[in-house]
Symmetry: C2
Subunit: 436 residues, 2 copies
């Protein structure tokens, strides 16, 4: 007998759960499409040279091998760990076939060989939107992406969400103010990103190992991270920090412009959080994470930011971009673990046609087809047991109506399982039109 076990970190949903996931996907897709984004998909694999050194630890990559082939030669292909790196490669590869600014959405599974834990999987869905342009991408695009992110979480309506934003330019500006070189600033960002995982003390320890960072400077950097405030107060609070230098000023200027382009409803759900760093190397400007304060144990349920150099690693062209990713599988885990949205999934079918004996089956099939043509999803029962059994089946599957052909009169009867009422229907098409 073959083994039957859950493969840890590879989630699998029951049909009613998948229906719920599909409903979420539809709502997010609607928001993305309403802004004119077009879908793309990329292969599940990329060359290892494309995936390497983009901020994901190498051992978290899955490589692909042909079964039985020699395993000792180095892997050429790996499964992608996010959709941003494949997207950048896609843009470079199809440059001449795309219209810029190129606005795309992408829903695919990604893989990370990390230790599975609460809300963290080895295979999971991300649902991304990005905008890229040739040479220059105005920050109005950063604002559009933030707006869309807010609209998507509002549309799926799971639990109130909070958009935490920061800007890599601000972080570089602060660290530069303390005299850190560019290289040292990047290391500082990596250290600060661990604030949630290791203690302040741990982060301080890491900071003090960076060249040019004294114990005191490390403490000052940590202190600056403590600035958390509503987005509406962000600019005045940043200015009050009194940090000098072009980098910081550029960061404030950029944030000011982005915030001025956001709808009030989005601003209201946004905070500036200077401790937000995000792990991936490629961000250069705004960074954002979505949290659900009622479920802090899930951490970030979405996020993204601005990047400049991702496409240019493949070609000598400047193609800046900004994008965000919705962590669909983590959201599903949050929803299912907390029994949210349980009544929102639609039934599998609207009508069950009961079959009282096998001689009726062809007639039953024809009635079912009439209903389907009118847009009513219809199942014909696969056997012909007593009517009661077939009604039980419909009830178990939440199918609201059972149609059957009276054995003697040949009349069509429809039973409404919710009200318990039964009616004689002479014109099935008209009845179906009322329903659909």
């Amino acid at each position: 007998m073959a083994k039957l076990t859950n493969i840890s970190g590879f989630p699998e949903w029951l049909p009613e759960q998948k229906l719920l996931e599909n409903a979420l996907i539809e709502k997010i897709k609607e928001v993305y499409e309403s802004h004119g984004f077009v879908p793309i998909e990329t292969p599940s694999v990329e060359l290892m040279s494309t995936l390497a050194s983009q901020g994901v630890v190498d051992k978290e990559l899955y490589t692909l091998h042909r079964a039985g082939s020699e395993q000792d030669k180095e892997a050429e292909l790996g499964l992608h760990f996010d959709l941003t790196v494949p997207f950048a490669r896609y843009v470079a590869q199809h440059l001449n076939d795309l219209v810029f600014p190129f606005k795309r959405y992408q829903l695919q599974r990604v893989w990370r060989g990390e230790r599975p834990q609460k809300g963290r999987f080895r295979e999971f869905y991300q649902f991304d939107v990005d905008i890229v342009a040739r040479e220059h991408l105005p920050v109005s695009c950063d604002a559009e992406v933030l707006t869309i992110l807010d609209k998507a979480y509002t549309a799926i309506n799971i639990s109130p969400h909070l958009l935490k934003v920061n800007n890599r330019k601000l972080l570089h500006g602060i660290y530069a103010g303390y005299g850190l070189s560019e290289e040292a600033r990047k290391k500082a960002i990596t250290a600060i990103d661990k604030l949630d995982k290791i203690s302040e003390e741990g982060v301080l320890g890491e900071l003090s190992q960076i060249e040019g960072v004294s114990q005191e400077t490390g403490q000052s950097i940590l202190n600056a991270c403590n600035l958390i405030c509503p987005a509406t107060e962000a600019i005045s609070r940043l200015e009050a920090l009194g940090i000098e230098g072009e980098l910081f000023a550029a960061g404030i200027g950029e944030m000011k412009e982005i915030l001025s382009l956001l709808p009030v409803t989005t601003l209201e759900r946004m905070e500036l959080n200077l401790s937000l760093a995000r792990g991936l190397h490629y961000y250069t400007g705004i960074i954002v994470e979505v949290h659900m304060p009622e479920y802090p144990e899930y951490g970030s349920v979405g996020g993204g930011g601005r990047y400049e150099g991702l496409v240019s690693q493949f070609m000598k062209k400047e193609i800046p971009g900004v994008g965000v990713s919705i962590g669909l599988t983590r959201l599903m885990d949050l929803i299912l673990s907390n029994n949210l949205l349980q009544d929102t999934a639609p039934p599998a079918a609207q009508v069950l046609v009961a079959v009282l004996n096998e001689e009726q089956r062809v007639t039953c099939n024809a009635h079912a087809e009439t209903l389907r043509q009118a847009g009513v999803s219809t199942e014909v029962f696969f056997k012909s047991p007593k009517l009661g059994k077939q009604i039980d089946f419909a009830a178990k599957k939440n199918i609201p109506y059972v149609l059957f052909v009276d054995g003697e009169s040949g009349a069509l009867e429809i039973k409404d399982l919710l009200s318990g009422e039964q009616e004689n229907v002479s014109d099935l098409e008209s009845w179906a039109e009322l329903l659909s």
Copy 2:
């Protein structure tokens, strides 16, 4: 500079091609859902013990490894090569949470490490429907699955399709008639499956190596395979073969019942083809393949059949099933290579809001939002160059309408790019309602 190459066998579409693929998916999904099938998805990986010996050559399997981990230990996980085997495992694993008969559809990528060639990929989409039941699954389910398969290809409307059907019971019946043991019959099926790939002579050679098959018997088996006729003549032509024995009689009886339950439209596109064998080991009854006679070079673009033992390999229960798979990626290849359906993909957005200067942007965003709320997908141009440039952009993206705010009067103007007409719109909501 990172390398930029196509990875052979891993297809990637441009956005307008992906829009077309999505339109196909929607049409197929509509057919599946109209019959009350529910969606599921399984992980991309299964235990190697689940994947092994299901009729796919081992070296066609892809195995997964963590980068940098020791490669010499045997792989535990492999990427699935079809959706039927994972589905059988799913049914066994979630038996107590499913309602039977369980009717599901499943759209996912599958992977096969075979040599890429015309219409054959290493990563491709399959779109499956299956019905499974406890203990007994009436052949009315076989008929439903064939009907759905026909409806799906009719709905996507690429090119006339032909359903080739056969029945493993007929094949076993014929071979048993020539005295072949069950083991020998299975080998004969594997040999006959190669008729398209190797010559008749090659198949004869393989047949004559099976125990108990003389040169003469081999030739007789090959001759029987030559029976190809319209489905409406199938029963009389089978009976005319004059083959004795219970197995063959059971095959005829089953085919008779299935054919009697098919709509005329489906029967008209169906032929009995005794040379159809299908490679996978698990089929036990009806087998079907979909071909597009205008594009013979693509071979089968879909297929499936009845299986009995797939679920029971995981548990001591009889759970027979019947299902078919639509080869979505192969269809896409056929469509794109032959420039079919080129005008059916919708535009990315219905309206472009042109921005004449950056001071207008907030107002333009608000108008765009009004349109989106009314169900009209709308893009706001990301910069503010001359109006002509923005109209060019809309034309390039097939966006039919350009809206702009007159710089002096503040009036809303909408240009219809198809007619070239421009109108002043005082009530944007009413205009949007007419459009959507």
